[in-house]
């Protein structure tokens, strides 16, 4: 079978036990305009050209795997998409807004409300407990402490790590820490989740647990995901894949 997910969803008989049922979300979302789109992005670190004209889009509700060899520009693409750096040329659109043209204050508010970001190492605050770490984005957004803690507890539960709520990061396993980090990235209920090698530091089984849980939760929440990975077994959790090679989308001019 060489079908992409939406095709598979449309042609799969409903009684097939192994396939995801042909859910309305997949079909409907693919008719929508992209939630995020980049056009001709160029970015250099001094003399190093990291992006050399990247165009791509993220469809609402989809999990897009961004793969490619190390140093190909995946992380830089994510930094541009999430508004963490300003591209030298080209534009990033979030819905109708050209966010690459906006001031940093605007983009940082966007990151607090609409974007969730997750890195290889969860970047949890080691002095805070799991529940405090997850509550942090809400507290920064001005949510009352008691409500923030309640919401954080719910999210920990959703990721199956309620039992470490009172633990600090150094006391958790890698997999637990990373699930807490995903919960923190999701607590503001962003419309886009950016995950840069989210399981890169985990063994295969812990990575699988983190990804399985993450996919289940984002599907329920309808979150669109940019999943960056150099690992095909991780990319297989996505609905679609784009490959970055030498700062360009591979095969973009080959249909």
């Amino acid at each position: 079978m060489t079908h992409s997910i939406p095709d598979a969803a449309e042609t799969t008989p409903p009684d097939s036990a192994t396939e995801r049922p042909p859910d309305a979300t997949t079909v409907v979302h693919h008719q929508n305009r992209p939630v995020l789109a980049a056009r001709s992005l160029v970015f250099s670190y001094g003399n190093t050209a990291a992006l050399r004209g990247v165009s791509m889009h993220l469809t609402r509700g989809e999990i897009l795997a961004v793969t490619g060899p190390s140093g190909s520009g995946k992380s830089t693409l994510m930094l541009c998409l999430a508004g963490l750096v300003t591209p030298d040329a080209g534009e990033v659109r979030f819905g109708d807004q050209v966010i690459s043209a906006e001031k940093e204050a605007f983009r940082s508010k966007l990151r607090r409300t609409d974007f969730g970001v997750l890195f290889q190492f969860g970047q949890l605050v080691p002095e805070l407990t799991a529940v405090e770490n997850v509550a942090l984005p809400l507290l920064l957004a001005g949510v009352k402490r008691s409500s923030a803690i309640t919401a954080a507890t719910t999210w920990l539960d959703r990721f199956g790590v309620a039992e470490v709520a009172g633990s600090r990061p150094p006391e958790m396993s890698g997999g637990q820490g990373q699930r807490v980090a995903v919960a923190r990235a999701m607590v503001t209920e962003p419309s886009v989740l950016f995950a840069d090698e989210p399981t890169g530091a985990l063994d295969a089984l812990s990575g699988e647990q983190v990804l399985t849980q993450m996919v289940r939760v984002v599907r329920e929440a309808g979150t669109s995901v940019v999943l960056i990975t150099h690992d095909a077994t991780v990319a297989a959790y996505g609905d679609r894949e784009i490959v970055v090679r030498d700062g360009m989308i591979d095969g973009a001019d080959h249909g």
Partner: protein, 193 residues
């Protein structure tokens, strides 16, 4: 790896007839080709002659008679020996992917070969998605998960090879592009940048 050992493994849990064995096999090993009844009966007969299984009774219900088989002590020993042996790693002598890419380079050009490899990569990843969905389904059985893990690992190996092959062909393309200008009978290189 033989059907005989697999059937003996299934018989080790309880005695039963060929029809049950076939059903159990197909359910436990969904990634394997379903067993043909003829193959099951022929294998059981062979195992019986070797003394690895024995016929314990003939069930007479409606329809044809069914012989119920049981694993013998010799069969159990043969099974234990088989389990203690390491499987020979496949020699990977015949690789249709590499063959096709090589032929593409021969009859066409780098762009054609790269295009084939990219489409092959998409097909492999699509298959890997199916196995990933299968094994992360909360309802999946351990047999399904183990089978999917195995398939995924093999697809992953192919995908790594595909990536290296794409890099190699891109490098080939670059080195040809930077070599002296082509002589008149060389075909023009496709612009790859």
């Amino acid at each position: 790896m033989s059907t005989g050992h697999v059937l003996m493994g299934l018989l080790s849990t309880r005695e039963r007839h060929g029809y049950d064995l076939k059903k159990d096999h197909d359910e436990r090993f969904p990634a394997a080709r379903p067993l043909a009844f003829g193959q099951v009966y022929a294998t059981l007969e062979r195992l019986r002659k070797k003394g690895h299984v024995e016929a314990v009774e003939i069930e007479r219900v409606e329809g044809p008679d069914r012989t119920v088989y049981r694993l013998t002590g010799d069969g159990r020993a043969a099974l234990a020996e088989w389990l203690s042996e390491v499987e020979k790693p496949s020699p990977f002598v015949s690789n249709p992917l590499a063959t096709k890419a090589t032929i593409a380079l021969l009859v066409a050009d780098e762009a054609t070969a790269a295009d084939y490899l990219r489409r092959q990569r998409d097909a492999h990843l699509a298959r890997m998605r199916e196995y990933t969905r299968l094994k992360t389904d909360p309802q999946a059985s351990i047999a399904e998960v183990l089978g999917a893990d195995y398939a995924i690992a093999h697809l992953d190996a192919d995908l790594r090879w595909l990536d290296t092959a794409l890099d190699r062909i891109a490098a080939l393309d670059r080195s040809l592009a930077s070599s002296p200008p082509p002589t008149p009978d060389d075909k023009p290189l496709k612009d790859f940048s």
